[in-house]
């Protein structure tokens, strides 16, 4: 269990770094797919099976396919070697190191964080987590689910409007 946690978090972080370091956008997108698979495995080590499955289905399945589709569609050539923006590089590294050290200091003093993951007892309700999350979504959070449906509809309409060619709309009006 502990070994699996370290393996999957290493996979997630290494491929996450590859996203930032790769020059080719397609390799970046494929690295992000592997990184998200590692993240889904971490969700499953936390007994959140439903979220793990949703992460694979929605992120690595739908969202990343959309990304790769757009990268192919726009036919982006390998980024030309431009001069690196040293201000952005230096600023980025300093800000990120500050963030990580701040987090490490904060977690060092966080006593409840030292508890170890306990194995769930046999027949624990958490093992039926798809059923329980589904019940919560469709009863207590039913209104929010319907709002989400409206949001997805609005997003779909917005995407269609945004990706319509401007020129053709003008011509049909004349």
């Amino acid at each position: 269990m502990s070994v699996l946690f370290y393996i999957f978090s290493a996979v997630m972080l290494v491929f996450g770094l590859m996203v930032v370091l790769n020059r080719n956008p397609v390799s970046s997108a494929l690295s992000l797919v592997v990184s998200f698979l590692g993240l889904a495995a971490l969700f499953i080590t936390l007994n959140a099976y439903f979220i793990g499955v949703i992460q694979v289905l929605v992120y690595t399945g739908a969202v990343m396919v959309l990304f790769i589709f757009i990268i192919m569609l726009l036919d982006i050539k390998k980024e030309q070697r431009r001069d690196l923006n040293y201000v952005a590089m230096g600023g980025g590294i300093i800000v990120v190191l500050a963030l990580i050290s701040q987090l490490a200091i904060l977690l060092g003093d966080f006593v409840p964080g030292n508890q170890q993951l306990a194995t769930l007892p046999e027949g624990s309700a958490v093992h039926q987590d798809v059923k329980l999350v589904g019940e919560a979504v469709f009863t207590d959070f039913n209104f929010h689910l319907q709002l989400l449906g409206i949001l997805l509809l609005v997003a779909t309409v917005g995407v269609v409007v945004l990706s319509r060619r401007q020129g053709r709309a003008d011509r049909s009006q004349q």
């Binding site: 972080l13 969700f43 936390l46 979220i51 949703i54 990304f67 990580i100 995407v159």
Partner: protein, 107 residues
């Protein structure tokens, strides 16, 4: 067994990598992918706090945390669709995805 702090640190590192990507990369599609990475890191924090919420390494009673993560993932999917449509429209107008070429709003 891994502790809560280890999960929080891993999630913080993933967030930091995504943040570094947003600050350092110049390709708008990669910036957008790094934003997704930061969003997922926040989800990992939320699920980790749920799993350790009952004390002694046991999960919290309710399932509100997982419902919230579910809604976050759904909203993120909608956001990706709209964002990529904006990037496609931008590419049609300017023929570039390099953020330093997109400076027409610069004063």
């Amino acid at each position: 067994m891994p502790t809560l702090n280890e999960y929080l640190m891993v999630s913080g590192l993933l967030f930091a990598i995504g943040f570094a990507g947003v600050l350092m990369r110049r390709n708008i599609i990669i910036i957008f992918m790094c934003l997704e990475m930061m969003l997922s890191a926040a989800n990992l924090t939320l699920v980790a706090f749920w799993r350790f919420g009952g004390g002694n390494g046991m999960p919290a009673d309710g399932y509100e945390a997982q419902v919230l993560v579910f809604f976050v993932i759904a909203v993120a999917a909608a956001e990706v669709a709209v964002g990529l449509a904006i990037i496609v429209a931008l590419f049609r107008a300017r023929c570039t995805v390099h953020v330093e070429d997109l400076n027409s709003m610069k004063g």
